[in-house]
Symmetry: C2
Subunit: 389 residues, 2 copies
């Protein structure tokens, strides 16, 4: 087990009507609130109205229109408001994109320079306004971690930063706010949550403990995703998806593990930066092809990992030989994504072969996959993207 430091100070308030705690939570943080949200979905489900009613004693300024794969322009707009109006607290109401945008805004509000410095890793974020969120999508885990990912459209850049300062103070998680999430978005969110765990699990050094925690989380995500895409108002399924996704990115599932390099995320970041597709959709498409390639290229590393995954996640018969187990585990993974209704090819996601070379080059140049545990070079990246077509 490797040395590590771990701490997640975020308080989760989870369950039906958890939002009733919002005024009390905000009261301890200030009076001037920047309310950040996306399109109209929070209005459709009555959440916007509920929040405004609860915030009647606060001074609320709004930053709306935050898009999936949140854009740097929204961050800049938010920072400007925070500085001009001396905002006390940033309240994100939405999914991971809204929370990520809010984190970058909160960091930028306490920084004299350009917030892109943090995203370009030219400066370290050391302070931020307090962040509170009301989650409406089970996917990114941003509600329980210290990371944010932001996209710059004109340069096809999608990059992130970590800072203890951007842990949400409180995350309000009411599974009922995800009842209206479409089957496709639900599936994409589950695929995102699964990928976070798989990226930590498919690595060189792990323990019986972390393996078991990861496997349990993946199994729970899969079982509950299958239910939620069919029964959108199944509270238990929505609740397990929400909770399991929250564990995805704060490191609790892989304490002491070595780092894999998060290859599928690296591959997908280019897809959603170039084509603005849903992150979870991109992950579901590339993951089985990444597995195929590393099983071929790094069999001594990949085979035992995928075989273990096949047995402990899919219940495959451990008496089979490791190669067969690994292959069947890849098939089962792809079959699961298909079963929950996700696109299986780039073509289905509206992406053709015209920019494969460009994206592969961008990934090879920017994502450090040559240093991943199962290293990938430009040719490998191109092969995975091409196989994904």
């Amino acid at each position: 087990m490797r040395n590590f430091q771990y701490g997640t100070p975020t308080r989760l308030i989870f369950g039906k009507n958890a939002i009733e705690n919002l005024p009390e939570v905000l009261r301890s943080l200030g009076k001037k609130v920047l309310l950040v949200y996306g399109g109209g979905s929070i209005k459709k489900i009555g959440l916007y109205q509920k929040v405004m009613e609860l915030l009647k004693d606060f001074q609320v300024t709004e930053l709306s229109g935050v898009q999936p794969n949140p854009k740097y322009e929204s961050v800049l707009a938010g920072v400007k408001i925070c500085k001009e109006q001396s905002i006390d607290v940033v309240l994100a109401v939405g999914g991971g994109s809204v929370i990520d945008c809010s984190k970058a805004v909160a960091a930028g509000a306490k920084y004299d320079g350009d917030v892109w410095d943090f995203l370009a890793h030219k400066a370290q974020c050391k302070a931020a306004l307090p962040i509170v969120d009301v989650l409406t999508l089970a996917a990114t885990g941003s509600e329980f971690d210290a990371a944010c990912v932001i996209s710059k459209t004109e340069t096809n850049e999608k990059t992130g930063f970590f800072s203890k300062s951007i842990f949400p103070k409180v995350s309000i998680l009411d599974p009922e706010y995800t009842f209206s999430v479409s089957p496709l978005q639900t599936a994409a969110g589950a695929a995102d949550g699964m990928s976070h765990v798989m990226e930590q699990y498919f690595t060189e050094e792990s323990s019986l403990l972390t393996d078991g925690l990861c496997e349990a989380t993946i199994r729970a995500l899969m079982a509950n995703a299958k239910v939620a895409v069919k029964e959108p108002e199944n509270y238990e399924a929505r609740a397990e998806l929400m909770l399991a996704c929250s564990f995805g990115c704060n490191g609790i599932l892989s304490l002491g593990n070595s780092r894999s390099g998060w290859p599928c995320h690296a591959l997908e970041h280019a897809l959603s930066a170039y084509y603005d597709i849903a992150h979870g959709v991109g992950l579901a498409i590339v993951t089985p092809h990444w597995m195929q390639l590393v099983l071929k290229k790094h069999p001594e590393k990949a085979m035992p990992l995928f075989a273990k995954y096949g047995v402990n996640v899919f219940g495959l018969d451990s008496a089979m030989d490791k190669k067969q187990l690994a292959e069947k585990a890849i098939e089962a993974t792809a079959a699961f994504y298909k079963e929950i209704g996700l696109p299986c090819t780039l073509k289905e996601a509206g992406i053709d072969n015209s920019r494969i070379d460009e994206m592969a080059r961008h990934i090879a140049d920017n994502e450090g996959l040559d240093k991943a545990y199962m290293a990938l070079d430009l040719a490998d990246i191109k092969e995975i993207l091409t196989a994904s077509l």
Copy 2:
């Protein structure tokens, strides 16, 4: 899934030489340190000397001699020092008993009344001095939770309290500091850690996610306990035990679960209050007998829980009928405790039948087991204790 609130602000610094971070950690908390420890074991392993060397720029006052099942006298002595010397931070160096004592001291230092008010639930602890610990025993999980348990010898009372204020700020966990823990203490610590998980797992409402997290933690504790009792300097085994035990009591493994009433802890608290035996030893003795009794008295509740545990923790064949699975799971649990060298009977732990009635009455009157998920009355409690003889 039930509504819940969760937050564990403690920072874990885990691994070899983690203690080198101690001066920096303390520097942010103050200058005057109360160093709390137990007998001479931290001197034998050179840890005391190391701590004193690292604290050469601090003003250190010592509170030593904290016993297992920490006594209220130690707490009072510590509170007196904190108040008289305006201590800034309490540094616990030891196992769960030392940390629990330090928590009560830190709480008492910020309270005008008698700290027993918190333990008797007459007052709520709302502030405490900051607590930092260096852990030397994998067992209680006190290093990562907000609880402490204290004993009053003259009245055979053993009771605890919870407060957000007593989460350690930082816990320094170096598995090497547990290399010198005897096989018996190692086994008792693992049994304590296991019991924490089982008390959360054997309950009415749980989820696929929490079941999987609990099962993974129990499996990791069992596998690594078997190694550590034979190979005391096996770093990986010590590391997994330490980390897995840390998850025991902060609720992360059972988010959204209903509460079981922690019956085995309730039973054991009387044993260690009356006879001052190791908590983990008492738990290992009573647990299989508690399982036997509830399987007989509450089969509709206990049988499916124990059957699931048998399949997912011990790998029993799920094709067996549930009753057989439950019985075999109980046998496997008892066999495991025996395999790692724990006493299997109260007699082996030096306890005869002379105070069974008195202890049973004490438990029935004070532990609320009539309200546990699988309720126990006085006769049940007496039956479990008698079967444990």
